[in-house]
Every structure is written in C-alpha cells, then in structure tokens.
C-alpha cells in the first residue's frame, strides 16, 4: 500500500485479531484523561501507565465475566 492510498483505501483487518486494536484506544483515553486531571504534568507518564493497567485489567475481567455468562447461562 502506498502512502497516497493510505487515507483513501481501507486496510484489511483480521476479524479475529481486531480486539488488540482496543489497546491503543485505551492508551489514548488514559493519556487524555490524565492530561486533564493530573495535578503535576511531570507525573503524567506514571499516571497514564497506572490507568492503562487499571483499564486493561478491568476490560479483561469484564470479558471473562461476559464469557462465563454466555457459556454457562442456562438456556430456556
């Protein structure tokens, strides 16, 4: 793919691996949130890393809970 078609033609994404693309989005949300909220801008990196870890862990827990519900929920 050339640079000229990069912002014109869509790129192919594998349906099975698309969940990994959630990680950069988590980082984006964490950076923006902490940029607004942190008291000292020099602590931004540390705060962002902590929030990304927190959000990633929360997402994994949520995924496991939903998977358990989908797998073991009694069907009528």
């Amino acid at each position: 793919m050339t640079a000229a078609t990069l912002f014109v033609n869509p790129i192919y994404l594998s349906p099975t691996n698309q969940l990994w693309l959630m990680l950069p989005l988590l980082v984006t949300v964490a950076v923006i949130h902490k940029t607004m909220r942190t008291g000292d801008i020099r602590r931004l990196l540390r705060d962002v890393l902590a929030l990304v870890a927190y959000m990633a862990a929360g997402t994994v827990v949520l995924a496991v809970v939903l998977w358990l519900v989908m797998t073991y929920w009694p069907r009528g």
């Binding site: 912002f7 014109v8 033609n9 869509p10 989005l25 984006t28 950076v31 923006i32 940029t35 801008i41």
Partner: protein, 179 residues
C-alpha cells in the same frame, strides 16, 4: 518573582478554539503542555482511524451517530468530511453515467435500488468500500477522538469560566510558600 498580569480568555472563545483545534482551549487558559499533548494524541487517533478506514470513514449518510462524534474533533473532522464529500461527488457523477446507460425503470424504489447497486459496485471497483471489521475499528478510533476532544473542550471551558489560569499549584510549592 513578579508575575505578568494577563486577562482571562472568554469561555466562549475557549470553547470555539478548543473545538476547532484540539488542545487550543488548554493553551488559551495557560496550560500549554497539556494543550500540545491533547493536540497530538487526538490528531493521531483521528487520523489512525481514517488511515485504517480510508476516505469513507467520515460518512454522514452511512453512520450518522459516528459522524456527529467525529465532528467533535474540530478541524480534523471537517477535513475528513470535506474529503469524503469530494469523493462522494465524484462517485455520484460516475453513478449517473452508469444509470444513463441502463434501461429506464418504472418505480422510484427500483431506481433507488439501481442507484445503490451502482454506487456499491463503483466503490468496490475503486477499492474504497468500507466493510466489517475495518469499518467498526476505523470509526471507533475517529469517533472516540472526537468524543475525547469534547471532554477536553468542556474541561477547558469550565476552567475558563471559573477564572482558572495556568497550571495548578503543586502541594510542595504551596507548602514552601506558607513557610
């Protein structure tokens, strides 16, 4: 050290600038580094979405609600919309040429169906058709960038309305000032 006295910017100005140029609202209230970070991160996220989804990522006809959130990214959203608009105009010209060559249909519904089919065919031919899962990921990136900018705009506007200017005082600075 004496501080230069500067007047607070009007919240409406902060709101407008913060929307148009992500991060500009924070720069206006004296938080320049935060503004720069917001500008870079929101721009990168929005254009990562458009890079994945192509020119039809910002599309008011197909995905209205994503389009609204993409428009919250200010200049980025407007540029994306402009590109999509120009591209769609070219596609519509081609569609009209194709329809002129086809036999006339009686009902309006059939004509719309023909038009939609021709449009889809031309998009597929040009390789710009946005399909699953790329459409979901691309619009999520561009849309989330817009929504995050909305948060930043609200933050900067509220701070401007409260008369806050500059970085918040760190605790150590305050303690040193007291002693």
């Amino acid at each position: 050290m004496a501080r230069r006295k500067t007047s607070n910017p009007h919240p409406a100005l902060v709101l407008a600038l913060g929307w148009l140029i992500p991060g500009a609202g924070h720069v206006c209230i004296g938080r320049a580094w935060r503004g720069v970070i917001i500008f870079l991160v929101i721009g990168a996220t929005f254009w990562a979405g458009v890079g994945m989804g192509g020119v039809l990522t910002v599309d008011p006809a197909t995905e209205r609600w994503w389009f609204y959130s993409e428009m919250c990214a200010g200049a980025h959203g407007l540029v994306g919309w402009r590109r999509q608009h120009q591209f769609s105009r070219d596609i519509q010209k081609e569609v009209q040429e194709v329809l002129n060559d086809m036999p006339r249909v009686r009902s309006k519904a059939e004509e719309q169906e023909q038009r939609r089919f021709a449009e889809d065919s031309i998009q597929a031919e040009r390789g710009v058709a946005l399909v699953y899962p790329t459409d979901v990921v691309a619009r999520a990136y561009a849309g989330v960038a817009g929504l995050l900018n909305l948060l930043c705009v609200f933050d900067a506007t509220v701070l401007a309305a409260m008369g806050v200017r500059g970085e918040p005082h760190r605790r150590r600075d305050v303690e040193e000032g007291e002693t």
